[in-house]
């Protein structure tokens, strides 16, 4: 079971500033472990974000994204109290979805 993401979403006007931290090794398939064996390719391939159940942002990414990835994006038409969910899926078919309630910005 994949580890949870940390999502921060705050709204300024009607734009939600979303920052997500994902727990994932993002192995390139080129790294050798301590024993000298190649660690197999294992990385997040797709990311989808939904605002109140409707997709507003999505991405396809490669193993060149850093370990424990961080992404930020901005969603229009959001308000405090809206639900923002993010899902990722990796090359092994493993998935993780997390949701937060959008907070008021400072």
């Amino acid at each position: 079971m994949a580890d949870p993401m940390k999502i921060r979403a705050t709204v300024q006007g009607d734009v939600a500033d979303v920052r997500v931290l994902m727990a994932h090794p993002m192995e390139t398939g080129q790294r050798k472990d301590a024993a000298g064996k190649i660690v197999p390719l294992h990385f997040i391939q797709t990311i989808t974000a939904q605002l109140n159940g409707k997709t507003v942002f999505n991405a396809d990414v490669s193993q060149a994204v850093s370990r424990n990835p961080v992404f930020a994006f901005k969603v229009k038409g959001a308000k405090a109290g809206d639900k923002l969910s993010i899902t990722w899926q990796d090359n092994k078919g493993d998935k993780r979805a997390d949701e937060v309630v959008i907070g008021a910005g400072s």
């Binding site: 949870p4 424990n68 961080v70």
Partner: protein, 268 residues
């Protein structure tokens, strides 16, 4: 002449990359982006894990750590890290945060020192529980001023011992901590070496630890950092959570007292 020896050796100690004490443009550039990276720091993933571990019933005694006294009373976590290292009567010694957490894991949960000391540092397959716990506890002092106490005689003694150790030259290179961290304006490649004998630079010994290290994506504590310094100086390996390391940490933390701790950091 000793200066030349220090500069000539590649495997010298770098405690931590930090704000330049001189106006080094490369270091300033690193700091600017370091601040961006610390806004969303993978260390937070370990903070969350640490909190789970704090509350979970674990070990032979199947108990949680919620009764652990970090110096401010049983179970009080907020602000405790900023006041460590400190003296603990039940152990009759000065302890840094990791030594204290290990103590609580032993007394409350029944873990043995040997198990915890066997592989105490993070590697690609595993982050030891004390590392996540230290990250959680340290994060609860985010934004607070350091106030490692010097009230008890053993606290004062730890400071003096730490100071002596810091300046004690030994090992194959005839190094001491002070060789790299006891003088202004030293640098290894692109990383400035702060002078921990001065208060305004001593904060750089504490700030940013525990830290998520970009190299390898590993969470590391000061126990790891000190162990690695000893290795780089070709000293014998220090005891995990030993009084020696608590003394060294007392010395640099007290030097930095009064300055704000910003929470777990991100390191090269």
């Amino acid at each position: 002449m000793k200066q030349a020896l220090v500069l000539g050796i590649v495997a010298a100690v770098a405690w931590l990359p930090a704000a330049a004490q001189t106006a080094d443009p490369t270091a300033a550039e690193f700091d600017k982006f370091r601040a961006i990276m610390e806004q969303d720091n993978p260390a937070e993933l370990f903070e969350v894990k640490g909190e789970e571990l704090w509350r979970a019933r674990r070990g032979p005694k199947n108990a949680s750590l919620e009764q652990c006294d970090l110096g401010l009373g049983a179970g009080v976590v907020k602000g405790a890290y900023a006041q460590m290292p400190r003296y603990f009567a039940d152990a009759d010694r000065v302890m840094d945060v990791e030594a204290r957490i290990v103590h609580c894991m032993m007394t409350l949960q029944g873990f043995k020192y040997e198990e915890l000391a066997k592989q105490p540092f993070s590697n690609e397959t595993r982050t030891p529980e004390p590392v996540s716990l230290v990250t959680y506890v340290a994060a609860q002092s985010r934004g607070m001023k350091l106030a490692s106490p010097q009230n008890h005689p053993k606290e004062r003694d730890a400071y003096e011992t730490g100071k002596a150790i810091f300046h004690y030259r030994a090992g194959a290179f005839d190094f001491s901590c002070a060789s790299c961290h006891g003088v202004d304006d030293k640098r290894i490649r692109t990383q400035p070496l702060p002078n921990f004998t001065k208060p305004e630079q001593a904060i750089l010994a504490v700030r940013g630890w525990p830290g998520y290290r970009m190299t390898g994506g590993l969470m590391h504590t000061l126990q790891w950092r000190l162990n690695d310094c000893y290795r780089q100086q070709r000293f014998p390996e220090p005891g995990y959570v030993s009084e020696t390391l608590s003394a060294l940490l007392t010395y640099v933390t007290v030097n930095a007292n009064g300055q704000v701790y910003r929470g777990p950091g991100i390191k090269r």
